[in-house]
Each structure stands twice: as structure tokens, then as C-alpha cells.
């Protein structure tokens, strides 16, 4: 079976810091795969390598069968990446921002309009999309960005803390949208999150990483069973060392 992501023994060194230290993980198509770990574990570095922003120091990463180093531009046409602290162009309106982004992957004008309309529904921003992004709250901006990441129905969506800064209701809405895009549009999702409840409800498979290495992997149910824990937070604390 073709895998959506094959990361093998990935090492990434920044100066004297080993951000990733031989990390390996595999993501199947149409799977929601969660990377969890404490701050500085290497989650964002891993997501950035998969998104072709960084090159691994050693090891190999294949996304949808393509190598992140040699076939980066091909991969960029198939994926969409939502960084954790991403922003949008503050002097553009929400509509203009979505349209600007859609034009890079879609040629047909009618299709661009439909895509932007779909994004408007995902974001739930409605009339506020006509306003400039600089007038948006943090949560509104995040909804806009999640909509941008999913609107083009990428083969792989790489989402770093997708619900960061959102209130409970909007978090639930965004999680529902992510599930819907996986089930209906066949999108594969690689995400990282600090919210264990979110990971438990959303992910088919979870990799727990610490200090750039994989320390546990499995479905949320498997991980809970192995660690004899009632929820993923307990698993996390036990595996990382606070248990």
C-alpha cells in the first residue's frame, strides 16, 4: 500500500541542537495522524520537514511517494500547511486573502469562486470576510487560516495546532470540518496538538515524541491500554516521565 508519509530515521540539527534524532513514522492515506509531545520535542520541525520548508540533516521523508528534498515543488502542489502561529495579510480582506491563496492551485475562475465560498462556510465568518484581516480577533484569524488550509482539498493537510486560540464551540466546529474533509474528500491529515482531548477524539493514530525521538505509537485506545491509563493525558505524563 502507498503511504501518505514515510519518515525514516530523520535527523535535523540546528547548530548544536538536535531537534530530531532519528524519528520515524508512517501515515496511511485518509488517516488523521497526531504528533504529540512536550514543548521542544521536535513536533513543529517534523511538520516543517514534511511541508518542504526544512531539509532533513539525514534520513529520508517521502510525501505521497515523493522525496521532500528532490521533489519539493511537486509535493507543494499536493499539500497544504497550517503553521502554529500563522498570520494572514492584515491589509487584505478575508475574501481577498482566500482568493489570493486559491489562485495558486486553481486555474478556473468559477472553481476559484466555489472554493472561496466553501472556505467561507468552513470559517463561519460570513459577512466579516469582507473586512480587513487586521480587524479580526485571534480566533477569527485562526478560522480563516484553517479554512484556507482545507478549501483546496489537498491530498495531505499538515496542521500545526489547528484549534490554537479557538474557543470550545469553534474548536468543536473545526474538528468536525477536519473529520468531514477526511471522510468526504479523502484528505490525509498530519497534525500536532497540545490538546489531548482533541487528539483522542480526532486522531486515528498518535505518535508520542520526546527530545526528537519517538517514544510511543498507536491508536489512542492502544496507547491507553498499553499505559494502563484512562486518557491520553495520563499516557503522555507516564511516557514522558511525569507519571
Amino acid at each position: 500500500m502507498n503511504l501518505a508519509i514515510e519518515a525514516e530515521s530523520v535527523v535535523k540539527i540546528f547548530g548544536s541542537i538536535h531537534a530530531l534524532d532519528g524519528l520515524s513514522f508512517y501515515v496511511k492515506p485518509r488517516e488523521i495522524f497526531g504528533l504529540i509531545g512536550p514543548n521542544g520535542a521536535g513536533k513543529t520541525t517534523a511538520l516543517r520537514i514534511v511541508s518542504t520548508l526544512l531539509k532533513p540533516t539525514s534520513g529520508s521523508v517521502k510525501v505521497l511517494g515523493r522525496d521532500v528534498v528532490n521533489q519539493a515543488s511537486e509535493i507543494r502542489g499536493l499539500i497544504s500547511y497550517l503553521p502554529e502561529e500563522a498570520g494572514a495579510y492584515k491589509n487584505l480582506s478575508g475574501y481577498e486573502y482566500l482568493e489570493f491563496m486559491a489562485k495558486f492551485t486553481i486555474e478556473d475562475k468559477q472553481l476559484i469562486r466555489e472554493t472561496v465560498e466553501a472556505a467561507a462556510k468552513i470559517s463561519g465568518l460570513e459577512e466579516r470576510l469582507k473586512d480587513k484581516v487586521k480587524t479580526y480577533s485571534k480566533g477569527m484569524k485562526r478560522r480563516l487560516l484553517v479554512a484556507r488550509a482545507l478549501m483546496t482539498k489537498p491530498k495531505l493537510a499538515v496542521l500545526d495546532e489547528p484549534t490554537s486560540g479557538l474557543d470550545v464551540l469553534h474548536s468543536v466546529h473545526v474538528r468536525g470540518i477536519i473529520k468531514q474533509y477526511v471522510e468526504k474528500e479523502g484528505v490525509t491529515v498530519l497534525l500536532s496538538s497540545h490538546n489531548m482531548l482533541e487528539v483522542e477524539h480526532l486522531c486515528d493514530k498518535v505518535a508520542l515524541i520526546n527530545k526528537g525521538k519517538m517514544v510511543a505509537e498507536g491508536s489512542p485506545a492502544e496507547l491507553k491500554k498499553e499505559a494502563n491509563a484512562s486518557n491520553l493525558e495520563e499516557v503522555f505524563a507516564k511516557v514522558v516521565g511525569f507519571g
Binding site: 511541508s51 520548508l53 500547511y81 500563522a86 491589509n91 487584505l92 481577498e96 492551485t105 487560516l145
Partner: protein, 437 residues
């Protein structure tokens, strides 16, 4: 690629044009500030003219002779208000002049009329009240001496007239010179002084305009890259299916478009400012530069345009390459700021000197700075020295290709995300006042 480039350019221009701080600094300030400065200049000139018309002079006449009387009458005919002052005490008279807001004081000594009639040198004591350093003050202070010089000329004319009653004017000014200029080996019926004035107005304006344009462009390009980092939009942009060079080219083009708008605003404002107090020299002299072969030809305009274009690209590429190392907009501006020296340095030399007359090492330094060349091209455009302009274009093009290559390389690697020059000393300095108790 063209579609993506156009998409980025439109976004860049929208972002830049809608930035209120940028619009304020680039377009509104020059369009309001310069005309305001011009208005202030015109007002002070008018005040100076008014003060020339309302001159009041105190006179202590110790002579009471006919020439002294002629002098006071002459001043009265020129609308000068004469205030006769008591002749006993000079200190009191000086005090009175100061307090009564008079322009000055003329003391006519007792032998004044006698000396002039006898043909000896006569003396006058003139006191001018010093009130400040403005234009109005300086004109009123020179007014008294100007009036006395006119009176002196009248006296000389009278004396000459007594000896040569037929044509005293020819005796006073026996030679009439007719000044002409030689341009490109041809004699032209134009005073070289007038021509020089015209050239000066061009050679000062162009380097300033070019410097302004390049400086705006550099700041814009640096801001455009750094704000992507500051607003955290760069990461998303770099994962889109677009060629990195397209992103770079889009940013450069967007910056050029907005910089040109800003430069036009500056030049319009600056021209208004200049014309408000310099007068319209070319219209008055009636010299048609094109007719005497002293105006830019289509070829020189083309060369100047190419020179400006390649310099603009090199300035932008330089600013982008440097701003990649900044974490935020402030950092980028701090990094690009020193580059403005590369613009100011040649501009000053271009405005006031002939580059070829400078000491050799200095000349080499100036030629090595790429931004000297468009300014030089603006000068040689008038003289028809196309070769200098072409050599400059070739040099700047090579420099531009090298810098663009570096910028593209940096944009293509992960350095654009990971390179961070922190300005710890700058931040510490900014924070210091707040930390003080």
C-alpha cells in the same frame, strides 16, 4: 508562472498601498509637507518685501548742509520714513531706534556736504538694528546700505554730468559686453551664466529624485520581506506551489510600483517647494535647451531609463538579501538604514562637484558604488556622453545579477526561515528608559 507573479504583485501593491503608515510617510507627507514648506518660504519672502517697503530710519543731521538735505529728501522720495532725532546724545538715539522698532540710524557728520562739494571723501555713520537671523531681518538690514549706494550712484552721475553733459552714461559704462556660450563646438547666443543656472536646477533635482526613489524602494522591499516574517505569513507562502524566484520577483515588482508612486509624489512636492521661492528661471530666460542641443535626446532618455531600472533592481535585491536576516520590520529597517549611505554619498558629490575632478581614490570609490551610475547618467544625458552611461549600465547590470543571484539563493534555501540576526543592543537601548526608576 506569469499568473502567479501577477497574483503576488497585486497582493503586494494592495498590502503596501493600504498600509496607513506607509501612505502617510510616502505620499501624503511629501505632498503636504513640501507645499507647506514652500508656503512658509513664500510668506517669509513676502514679509521681507513688506519690510523693505516700510523702512523707517532715524537721522542725526550734524551737517545741515545742502547734500545732507538732498540725502534725506532722496530717501523720502523712496518712501522711507525719516525720523529726525536730537543730535546731542548718541546713546539715547541708539536706544530710541531700538525701542521704536526703526530699521536703523544714519549719523551725518558736520563736514559731510562740504567734503562732497570740495571733492573730498565724505563719511556717514550707519547703525542697523540686529533683530534676528530670518530672511525678513537680513533683507531689512541690507536695505539701508542699498539705499545709500543708490544715492552715491546719483551723486557720481551728477558729477560726471557736470564734466560730460552729452552722454554721462557712456563715460560711466564705456564697454558693452555681449556674452555667448560655446556648446559642443558651436557658438550659441546664450549667456553662460544663464545656462549654468539652468544646468544647476537639473543637476540638483535629478540626483535628489533618484536618491529618493531608490531609498523608498529599498525600505519597501525590506519591509515587504520582513513583514511576512513578522506577520507569520512567510511559512505558508513558501509551502505554496510557486517558484521561489516568482515570490522574489513579485515582491521586487510590487515594491517598484509603490516606490515609483512615492517618488512621483516626492518630486511633485519638491518641485512645488523649489518653484515657490526660486522663481521659474527657464521660462524667464526663454532659452530652449533642445534647440541649442543641450537637452536630453531620446537616446539619452532611454539610457537614463535603463540605468535607473537596473539600479532600482539592484537596490531592491540588495535590500531583500539583507532583510532576510532580520526577524521583524524594525530589524529590517535597521539593517537597510546604513545602505542609504550608498545613496547619499554619491548624491552629494553629484550635486556639488565634477566626479572627474576628484582625487583618484575617491573617484574609484564613487564609481564602485552602483548607485553613482544612474546619477551620473542623469548628468551625461545632457552632454551626450553616451559611452559613460553605457559603461555604467553594464557595471550596474553585473552587480545586479550578482545580488539577484544571492537573493534568489537565499530565498530558495531554509535560511529565509532560520536566519535571524538579533538586535539585542538595539532593543536594550530602546528598553532602557522604561527600566529606569
Amino acid at each position: 508562472m506569469v499568473k502567479d507573479l501577477f497574483n503576488i504583485i497585486v497582493k503586494e501593491v494592495k498590502e503596501l498601498v493600504r498600509d496607513p503608515t506607509l501612505i502617510l510617510g510616502m505620499i501624503i507627507v511629501p505632498l503636504i509637507l513640501f507645499p507647506l514648506m514652500g508656503f512658509a518660504m513664500q510668506t517669509s519672502m513676502k514679509t521681507a518685501e513688506e519690510s523693505m517697503r516700510n523702512i523707517s530710519i532715524a537721522v542725526i543731521d550734524l551737517d545741515k548742509g545742502s547734500v545732507a538735505e538732498n540725502l534725506t529728501n532722496f530717501l523720502i522720495t523712496l518712501n522711507v520714513r525719516i525720523v529726525e532725532v536730537d543730535d546731542s546724545n548718541l546713546t539715547e538715539a541708539v536706544n530710541y531706534v531700538q525701542q521704536s522698532n526703526l530699521t536703523g540710524l544714519i549719523v551725518i557728520p558736520s563736514d559731510f556736504s562740504n567734503n562732497i562739494t570740495e571733492g573730498s571723501k565724505a563719511e556717514l555713520d550707519v547703525y542697523t538694528v540686529f533683530r534676528g537671523g530670518g530672511i525678513a531681518e537680513s533683507t531689512s538690514s541690507s536695505a539701508i546700505s542699498a539705499l545709500l549706494e543708490t544715492f552715491e550712484e546719483r551723486l557720481v552721475f551728477q558729477k560726471i554730468g557736470e564734466k560730460f553733459p552729452e552722454d554721462p552714461e557712456t563715460v560711466l559704462d564705456p564697454i558693452k559686453t555681449s556674452e555667448k556660450s560655446i556648446i559642443k563646438g558651436k557658438s550659441v547666443d546664450v549667456n553662460p551664466g544663464v545656462l549654468f543656472g539652468l544646468m544647476m536646477s537639473q543637476s540638483i533635482g535629478m540626483p535628489i529624485g533618484i536618491m529618493m526613489l531608490l531609498m523608498f524602494a529599498m525600505q519597501l522591499a525590506a519591509t515587504s520581506v520582513a513583514s511576512e516574517k513578522e506577520e507569520k505569513t512567510l511559512e505558508t507562502l513558501l509551502t505554496l506551489p510557486i517558484n521561489r524566484f516568482t515570490i522574489l520577483a513579485g515582491k521586487l515588482t510590487g515594491s517598484i510600483i509603490v516606490a515609483v508612486m512615492g517618488a512621483i509624489a516626492y518630486i511633485v512636492g519638491f518641485n512645488y517647494y523649489m518653484s515657490s521661492f526660486m522663481g521659474v528661471i527657464p521660462a524667464e530666460t526663454g532659452v530652449d535647451l533642445a534647440a541649442i542641443g543641450f537637452a536630453p535626446t531620446p537616446i539619452s532618455y532611454l539610457l537614463l531609463g535603463i540605468s535607473l531600472f537596473v539600479s532600482l533592481i539592484s537596490a531592491l535585491a540588495l535590500a531583500v538579501s539583507i532583510s532576510i536576516f532580520a526577524e521583524d520590520v524594525k530589524g529590517a529597517q535597521a539593517l537597510v538604514g546604513p545602505l542609504s549611505m550608498l545613496l547619499i554619498f554619491p548624491m552629494i558629490f553629484m550635486m556639488f562637484t565634477d566626479i572627474y575632478a576628484l582625487p583618484f581614490p575617491l573617484m574609484i570609490v564613487l564609481f564602485a558604488i552602483p548607485f553613482t551610475h544612474p546619477m551620473l547618467a542623469s548628468k551625461v544625458a545632457f552632454t551626450g556622453d553616451y559611452l559613460t552611461a553605457v559603461i555604467g549600465i553594464v557595471y550596474v547590470s553585473i552587480f545586479t545579477i550578482a545580488v539577484l543571484y544571492i537573493a534568489a539563493r537565499l530565498f530558495g534555501t531554509e535560511k529565509i526561515l532560520t536566519a535571524k540576526l538579533k538586535f539585542k543592543w538595539l532593543r536594550r537601548r530602546r528598553r532602557m528608559p522604561a527600566e529606569e526608576p
